[in-house]
Symmetry: D2
Subunit: 401 residues, 4 copies
């Protein structure tokens, strides 16, 4: 069972491209060398491109996306500040939980799992907040637990329409570099991501893009912080040197990963994620199953959470995949445990890999008792992929014997 | 198109397991160090296990399988010696061609491509060879060009039945370590393989197993040789040191590869190759297509050569696979160019990888105009794999959220 | 100048052994797989061995040693708590600075750079603290900036002698796994280290060992924390699963690194660090130069800070090493900038590597105008190393031609 | 003893640059893919630059330098052809031995080991060969066993002066890409090298450059050959495809290695080899020892064979280096076994690495009883290296703390 490649379709950490693995497999380097900034400084410039921001500042913390969340809150807000959040999956839940634990006054809207940020309710709350007690509005751009993408631009519009000056915070951990995200166009004040999703690296970097307005808020923030403080961590983007030991190998991997992304083109990367995701979704629908995301507008291009038939235990599907077919799917978390399994389709993937995910899922589902037709999902996805790639069909190329 | 993993289904060089890649990725070592034999000597012992021989001697030449062929001939035969061969694919053809170029008197039987060694005709020729002019009988165990496996044991029986003392030479390049091969049991005198097939390494090692009887013939062989001479190359198996610079990284890779094979168990490796191959064949038949191998008894467990429909150009199928789906298939060679494409299913593979080969082939065939049903081959293979793996189904394993 | 190996003699991040590099160079894995705990759980058991604790609990945070410091403080103390610290180098300075920024009431003793923890003054302060306002005593076991090792056991004795119940915190970032450290024997309540020093990994893991008494204090700690909270991070040591995405490759590297340490034996590792360091020191003294550490009792076995002659700029020495000789030394920081350069001699090193450090330093010093004799430091170190290794001299071993 | 880097100073196989290791650490590729020639074809063009030939043709055989020798002889000469050779070390000896075994009529001049090709005697023999029976003249450009470089241009002059039309064959295994070699300028007809010396790769490629005149001779050559035949192996340089499975990883490594060489500049590479070698020689002379090469004109820039004092066994020196100091030296072979040890200084090396070789050699010599002064060789080499690098001294570069 351990022969051949393992098939990783969790929604992160994602597959590491071979070029990135190679870039990280180097002897240790001198992080105080005169040429170390030649590595570091361009990373900041290029990451701005990934967030699509000209005005924002980038902060890179050794840590995870969770650390980036904490950095976001502790550098810009104060204990007791009211923030408007919504909760519709495990990761938006954890974010709200952290905000509370760090001392914020969290106004959290509970939404059906399978839906996204309730923009109209946000609008109502903002409008009703005549005393402007809400200091920040939080948006989970892509809820990894349910495969739901929310409309950040609409939240911006709600802020603008109501004339509310609250900061707009976005969790882009499983969207940035994979799903359209436009920091400046959408007036986002602070966005966070991690290295282990669309950036195709191991976990270990929490990345933030921070608007000038959020940096202003930072100036009056009083939450104690040290490791995650912007004060200390602005140095790397200015000098190329870190205040404490950076994960040099990850920085080298980030260089390689950004090179891959820009060589493909960020727009092309995003289009590819949509194309691959759509194939998976067509497969799911061909099985006669539904996504956890309740409406097409919520469909995520980085992860599909699939509701199994009532008489099937999604945990068994996942166990089958791992133990019998060397394939890893994501589990249903918390409220949807046992009811959904997830196919992550972000990062370094191609069409045939997605077909292998569907093929493994079909077998795992059928082994778990699901009455779906063998090959049906694969066939639906094949037809979609052929229709998309066909446009670029090559002529017959002679090959040597 | 260059995202994600490439899908390599040529019948060699095969996918390199990650553990083997890692084992080869080391600083250069001192090939004259006192502990270098600790690496080298066990390789010879373990390779005997792979050839299933106790009596044979192993020779390891830096070179390819073709070099091993040359070593076999030039060390044991003499110019003008008559040898009995048969030709039914590009690789048996090349072997016979080499034998002629090296000065042997080649009695070569031409057989329909798609069939294997003509045992009965061999028997007749041996029986008719009253003057015992035939010094060696050659058997291409697995013809990689047509996906045909021949019956070595039956050739041995023909030799025994006719009381003929000719040497029995076997080309096991694409069979050994993947398809049942029993050197001692079958009375094989000389078998050759290369590093880049069942041994899952890059090309660069030609490997021979030589019986005591063949070594006797060697003593009276007069063909000039130096690089490929057994005299010089017996040292490594005795002392652990090579007469000229060995490819140390490949030796380290071979160590890792043999460890993988023995950890799985050679019988299990062979059974896995059969299981995986059978899934591919069921897929092919579900498409309504035929193998190049004309009868079930010839079916190869390491490579399937698939005949495309009359109105389809197999070269276009292969071009589609490579250019549109990042998938490499083997081409039809020489006589069958354009008529067949090949799926290599040997080495480091698992079920889902074989399904991805079928999925990519289905799309490539359909893009080339073949009227086969989308998903049909995948479905047939899935059912086969499920039936085989189901026996070892795990219970539900709880996973952490 | 960029040919050959670079020579890294900064006191961290240290050279990564090839075996560790290989262990980290793997495809991404499923961090929720049923067998993931097989990797994770033994790490915790083995790290207890490295800290020499039976009773302590291990916490592993994705982050750096600085993050581990923050975790230590924020999980066990409360804002306003008085702590006793001392400052005699850049890293003890930064630790005290963090303590203040996190809201502690820091009683910080300034000591001459080149000396270590002032045990007698600690004793006096503890004795005078009749109201037991001091909640914790901090010891920088090895000050990386000055190459000074302090006496942790003596601080424990001071606590015991005065009957003071304050917690004993140790910064072991540049000592643990390299210099003798005995958590249980010395009654240490909390010790921190990072992955990038004696553990020979890239930066990215902050590691803590926490005594039962410190865990008790944790129960009543009220500092807001989330990322670095013990509550969330106790799961991995119990279940093998992390509360947020772990740096899997680093965990695999840690496995390999611990395997190397235990194969050599922790005592042998520590003895080797002493042997290698002593050679470097003999070289320094043969040059006629002094260490920053003012007395022999302070000499560090992991880093030597070397005071350059008055008319020499240590920054030029370092610049020469890097630019002319592909060799990295550590800089003098803050108060000793320009006055010292540092040779890190911890982690994956051997005698000849240390000789190359001395050889490069000799050239770099002479190029910067220092009047030291060429080869003198190397010769002194050679004699020391020969005297130490000679005991284990092998007989003549025949080598193959 | 197994900590840290091993120190490899054998004269091949040489240290593999990290960039080359990385380039070879890739998944297996499709050697029949339409874009495979994009890798292969430029290698041939670039190798012509390494041999400094415009007119020559390159052949690349999977095998070793020994295989390249065999290819050279068997493709251009005929059994019974007289060739003029000379023997003054183990490798020139083996070459002559091969020539005899392959059926040539070898006129071999025995020269004192420590000298090189006897140009005047060659001249006399050529002049005396009125019937022009000598078909080829062989020159071992660099005798690896004794560290002797011969004068190829002078042999060309001898041929020209005598009007002799014999082919000029050069063994450049340990010179090409490291010591000045000019195929066209020197009228060399056939030169061979291997991948594992100046090209800094693992063994596994035998490389030949062949003049138009030698290709003419090839047309009338009748030695049986197959694996090493030019007929079959001209395809790769024309089509990019190999007649049998190529060692793809080595080709990728060769790409990286050529990139490194051209980035540094071939002239700079050769100058560096001279600079590094001269430091080693100054160290040897500072010890009061002599090279095996009897005159300065024979000194090799890729390997120094060092004669140990009479009462010292060179094998013990080598054993000490390996077992006590993790350092590999080359052994004295055959006639000079026990009398010399060799320091290889070719390939991916820098000054500090050479100093570490001298430092390890000093200890190994002294441990074996040699009365040399500790540090003396290192000091002499340091002064040389400082004098050479000093010219390019950088200004003080500020480093971040």
């Amino acid at each position: 069972m351990r022969n051949g490649t393992s098939h990783l379709f969790v929604p992160g950490p994602t597959n590491i491209p071979d070029a990135v693995r190679r870039a990280m497999n180097v002897p240790m380097q001198d992080m105080r060398a005169p040429d170390f900034p030649d590595l570091v400084l361009p990373l900041f410039a290029d990451l701005k491109g990934v967030f699509r921001t000209d005005n924002g500042s980038i902060f890179l913390f050794p840590g995870s996306g969770t650390g980036a969340w904490e950095a976001a809150i502790s550098n810009t807000l104060n204990r007791g500040d009211r923030v408007l959040m919504s909760r519709f999956g495990q990761f938006s839940h954890l974010w709200a939980d952290m905000a509370g634990r760090l001392g914020l006054d969290v106004e959290c809207l509970d939404v059906e799992w399978g839906e996204g940020v309730p923009v109209e309710e946000y609008r109502r709350r903002l409008d009703a907040d005549k005393n402007r007690r809400i200091k920040a509005v939080f948006v989970t751009h892509n809820e990894t637990a349910t495969g739901v993408t929310s409309d950040v631009a609409a939240v911006r519009a709600a802020l603008d329409d109501t004339g509310h000056k609250a900061l707009l915070f976005v969790d882009g951990v499983s969207s940035i570099a994979s799903i359209e995200f436009r920091m400046d166009d959408w007036g986002v004040d602070l966005a966070v991501t991690g290295s282990q999703k669309g950036l195709m690296l191991p976990a270990g970097l929490g990345i933030l893009a921070v608007s000038p307005k959020a940096l202003e808020a930072h100036a009056s923030s009083t939450i104690e912080r040290c490791y995650f403080s912007f004060e200390d961590m602005k140095a790397p983007s200015e000098t190329g040197y870190f205040p404490y030991t950076p994960p040099t190998q990850l920085l080298l991997g980030l260089r390689a990963s950004l090179d891959l992304i820009f060589a493909e083109g960020l727009d092309a990367v995003i289009a590819r994620h949509h194309r691959l995701a759509e194939g998976v979704r067509r497969g799911v629908h061909a099985w006669g199953l539904n996504l956890c995301a309740t409406e097409k507008k919520w469909w995520s291009d980085t992860v599909s959470a699939i509701v199994v038939p009532e008489d099937v235990d999604a945990r068994q599907v996942i166990a089958n995949g791992y133990s019998k077919y060397r394939t890893s799917f994501g589990a249903g978390l918390s409220k949807v445990a046992g009811r959904v399994f997830r196919i992550g389709h972000l990062g370094d993937l191609n069409e045939v890999m997605c077909l292998s995910a569907l093929a493994a899922a079909e077998m795992s589902l059928r082994d778990a008792g699901a009455k779906i037709e063998a090959g049906s999902g694969v066939a639906a996805a094949q037809e979609w992929y052929r229709s998309q790639i066909g446009l670029a069909a090559p002529n017959l190329q002679e090959r040597a014997a």
